[in-house]
């Protein structure tokens, strides 16, 4: 059973994030809200050309 996920190509890092997500979702209301607020990430990307920032592109957040 141990490392069954590794054979399916899941890294330990991925294992950790899945386990952490499952734990956060299992918490009682108050702690869960605090934990989920903390765990969210958003990603925005923009290029710099000629010393100017080009349009920012939103790449989504960790919930998606």
């Amino acid at each position: 059973m141990a490392f069954a996920w590794k054979q399916a190509g899941v890294s330990y890092n991925k294992y950790l994030s899945i386990a952490a997500q499952a734990i956060r979702k299992s918490l009682k209301e108050q702690a869960r809200v605090a934990a989920e607020r903390r765990s969210g990430n958003e990603l925005k990307v923009s290029r710099w050309e000629n010393g100017k920032q080009q349009e920012a592109k939103y790449l989504g957040n960790s919930e998606q």
Binding site: G9, V10, L16, I18, A19, A22, I23, S26, K28, E29
Partner: protein
């Protein structure tokens, strides 16, 4: 007998005029190891639960099996799976945290660092939330999704079953 001889040689080496002759401070191996406590650091990305705190024993859920760490443990690095970290503090108090997995590093001179993504005491979990998630994860794990989805659902099932067992105990 030997200490007597040491005293005498010390006395011989001392200057004849000095009036205070102190016995040389002897240091043995047994004195070098003074503490039977282990310094525990349990840290998360957003919080340090223990910060080099003296504790008696720590039981950790290593991938290779649950192991207990006492003072003067052999240095090692252990990959953890989701499970209970059991901390026996000074005075016999016992604290349990459910961790998501991470690494435990047993350093020389009785230091133990545990890094995990999430760690909560058992009373912060809701058994109902665990059950409903477990049902959902089981459905995916036995469904006809991609190999990746099934592998991820199986991780969830394993984590949640461990958590459920811990909460019921």
């Amino acid at each position: 007998m030997q200490s007597l001889r040491l005293l005498r040689t010390a006395a011989l080496r001392a200057k004849p005029m000095s009036s205070t002759i102190r016995a040389p401070v002897r240091r043995g191996y047994a004195e070098a190891v003074t503490s039977d406590k282990i310094k525990l650091s349990l840290s998360l990305p957003h919080q340090a639960i223990y910060k080099a705190t003296d504790v008696v024993q720590v039981n950790i859920p290593a991938e290779s099996g649950v192991m207990g760490v006492l003072a003067n443990h052999v240095p090692s690095i252990e990959q953890l799976k989701a499970g209970i970290v059991d901390i026996i503090e000074e005075g016999g108090a016992n604290k349990q945290f459910f961790v998501s997995g991470g690494f435990a590093v047993v350093q020389p001179n009785s230091r133990l660092s545990i890094n995990a993504v999430e760690a909560y005491t058992l009373d912060e979990f809701s058994l109902d939330a665990v059950k409903s998630q477990l049902a959902e994860a089981n459905k995916i794990a036995s469904g006809s999704g991609s190999e990746q989805d099934i592998a991820e659902a199986k991780i969830e099932v394993e984590v949640l079953e461990t958590l459920q067992a811990a909460l019921k105990a």
